[in-house]
Symmetry: C2
Subunit: 328 residues, 2 copies
C-alpha cells in the first residue's frame, strides 16, 4: 500500500466546524471553543476482538467505532465536533478496504458535521482502530452518572439486547434471514448514537446519563455507585424489540441485562421532568421507557435491584441475579 | 491479568489541571478552557515496529510515546495539559510490565503537570499504545509550519541524528559502551520535548515551528511547502553532538538529515528576532543553531537546498541529494 496516497485519500476536502483553526496539515490540530466546555473520549476496536470481516463490512467497522465514541459524547450531553483516527494496518488489508473503513466513519461523522482533524497511520500485525472524539457542551451543562437522586425516574432509550442478538445471528445463522433478523443485524452493525435525544434535554436542570456499552446491568451499577443511591428496576418494564422477542425468546432478557453494545442511554430525571424526556425522545425518533426508580441507599454499598417474578433481587454488574441462581 | 485491578492501578489519585471538570470516572472527560485555543494530536507506537523489548524498558516505551506527542504540542507553541491512553494488550505482557509503561508516561506527564483523563484498555495480539494529547495556547498564538517568510533565519534546536545513532547501538552493540554510547542511547530512549523553548518565545509575533520526527530533510520540506518558500540549509551549520561524530563518523550526516525521531524543533524567525531565539534556548537548557535562511521560491515548486561541498543541491523529503548520487 502507498501510505501517502492513502493519507491523501482520507484527508477531508474541507472542514465544517467554525471553531476549527487548523486541521490535519500541521503537527497538531487547533480549535477555539467559545463559551463551551470540551468533552473528549477515546475508544479502540481490534480485529478478532471487537469485529471480524465475517460480521462486518469495512464501512460498518468504521461506522461502528465512531458510533461507539459518539455515544460517549451523547452520554455527556455534548455535541460532536471533531474526531481523530489512529489506525494500525496489517499487510492483508487493501487500500480499497481501508478507504471503505474511513468512508463508514465519514458517513456517520458527516451526519453530525464532524471534522476529521488528525490521526496516525502505522503498520502492525492486526487491524486496530483507535478513535478520539471531541465534543462541545454549554458551560456547566455536561451530564454525569453521579447526579442521580432519590425519587428520580430511571429510564432507558430504545430497546435492549438487539446488538448482541444481531451478532449471534451473524456468527450462527440458521436458515433464511427474516426481516426480524435483518433488523437485529442492522442494530449490531449500524447503531444510532442518541445525540439528538440528549441534546433535546439540554434545558433540564438535572439529568443523569450513562451510555449502555456493556449491558444495562453494568451501567446501572455505575450510576448507583457514582451517585451513591440504589436503583430499583422493574424487569417487566425493560424495553425489548419485537424482533428479539420473536427470534431469541429464551435469551433476550439476559442479553438485555448484560448483552453489550446497544449504545442506548440509561439515565434518571426528577419525576416532574419525565414527560419532557418522553417528548425529547419522540422528537429524536426514539423511545424512552421508564424502567424503575432511584431510591435512597439501604445498605452500606449502593446496589441495583431488579424484580423478576415478583421478588426483588440484587443485580450485579455482570447481569447476575439471585433468581438466576435458583434456576430461573 | 485482572483488567479491573490494572485500571485501578493506573488511575490517577488526583488531578492538577485547574481547567479539568471531570477526569476518568465517566463516559468522557470534561474540561473548560478559558481564553485558550486547544491543540490536540494523536500518535501510536506498535511493538516490533516502533520499539522492541530489546531496545527499550517498559518505562522508556511509555515515556517515549508520550514524548513524541508532547513534541507535537511543543511544535505548536502550546502547553501540555491532558493525555488519554488507549492500549492494546497481548497475553505475553504482564500486569507489572504494563504498569511500568504507565509509570514512564506518568514520569514525563508529571513534569508538565499533565493529567491522564481517559483511555481504553483492549486485548489484542500485539502491544500497541495510542496516545492523545491536549494542550492549551493563548488565543491566536499557535505556531504553524506555514508562516515562514523570505529573509527568516532557519534554525534547529539541539543536535541531530542522536536518536537514530542510539538505536543503531542498541541493535548492534559492538564491544563496551562508552559515555558517548550511553549519551546516544539516552537520546533515543528518553528524548526531551522542547516545550520550554517554544514557550519562552510566546511573545514573538511570528515564529514558524515544526517538530523533527522524521529527520530535518522531511520537516524542512514540510515548512517549504506549507509556507511556499525555498529553504537554504548550510550543511556545515547542522548541529551534531560530539558523541555521534566520534562513534559514527561515516553515518552521522545522513542520520541527521533523514534519521528519524530527534524531537527537536525546526523553525524560522525574522532575523531581528534571532537573538531572542538564542536566549530562549539558553533559558530552556538547549542550544539553537542557525542552519540557513528562508528565501523566495525560485521555481514552480518550493524546494529545500543544501550546500554540501560548496554546491547547492536540492534536498528531498527523504534526505536524498544529488551530491549523494555522485558518490559523496
Amino acid at each position: 500500500m502507498d501510505e501517502f496516497s492513502f493519507i491523501r485519500s482520507i484527508k477531508p476536502e474541507y472542514y465544517r466546524q467554525s471553531s476549527l483553526i487548523k486541521g490535519i496539515d500541521d503537527d497538531a490540530a487547533v480549535f477555539r471553543p467559545s463559551g463551551h466546555d470540551i468533552v473528549t473520549a477515546v475508544d479502540t476496536m481490534v480485529e478478532g476482538v471487537h469485529f471480524t470481516r465475517q460480521t462486518m463490512a469495512p464501512e460498518q467497522i468504521g461506522y461502528r467505532v465512531l458510533a461507539a465514541n459518539i455515544s460517549d459524547l451523547a452520554a455527556m450531553g455534548s455535541t460532536p465536533a471533531f474526531f481523530m483516527v489512529s489506525i494500525t494496518i496489517p499487510s492483508d488489508w487493501s487500500q480499497e478496504e481501508l478507504e471503505r473503513i474511513y468512508e463508514g466513519m465519514k458517513r456517520l461523522g458527516d451526519s453530525y458535521q464532524m471534522d476529521l482533524i488528525g490521526g496516525d497511520t502505522v503498520s502492525g500485525s492486526e487491524l486496530s482502530i483507535s478513535v478520539t472524539v471531541i465534543g462541545m457542551v454549554h458551560k456547566g451543562k455536561a451530564r454525569y452518572r453521579s447526579t442521580a437522586k432519590t425519587g428520580d425516574v430511571l429510564f432507558v432509550t430504545g430497546t435492549l439486547g438487539d446488538s448482541r442478538a444481531g451478532l449471534e445471528w451473524l456468527l450462527n445463522p440458521k436458515g433464511q434471514a427474516s426481516e426480524d433478523h435483518t433488523y437485529l443485524v442492522q442494530r449490531h452493525q449500524s447503531p444510532v448514537p442518541r445525540v439528538a435525544f440528549a441534546s433535546n434535554l439540554s434545558h433540564l436542570e438535572r439529568l443523569t446519563l450513562n451510555d449502555v456499552s456493556d449491558g444495562i446491568a453494568n451501567e446501572a451499577n455505575e450510576i448507583a455507585k457514582a451517585s451513591e443511591v440504589d436503583l430499583w428496576i422493574d424487569s417487566k418494564a425493560l424495553p425489548f424489540s419485537e424482533a428479539i422477542q420473536k427470534v431469541f425468546p429464551g435469551q433476550y432478557v439476559d442479553w438485555g441485562l448484560s448483552g453489550g453494545e446497544d449504545f442506548e442511554l440509561l439515565g434518571s430525571v426528577p419525576e416532574k421532568d419525565w414527560s419532557q424526556v418522553i417528548e425529547a425522545a419522540e422528537q429524536a425518533g426514539v423511545t424512552a421507557s421508564k424502567i424503575g426508580y432511584v431510591k435512597t441507599k439501604e445498605g452500606p454499598e449502593p446496589v441495583v435491584k431488579v424484580n423478576k417474578s415478583g421478588e426483588w433481587e440484587i443485580l450485579t454488574s455482570s447481569g447476575y441475579t439471585h433468581l438466576k441462581e435458583k434456576g430461573d
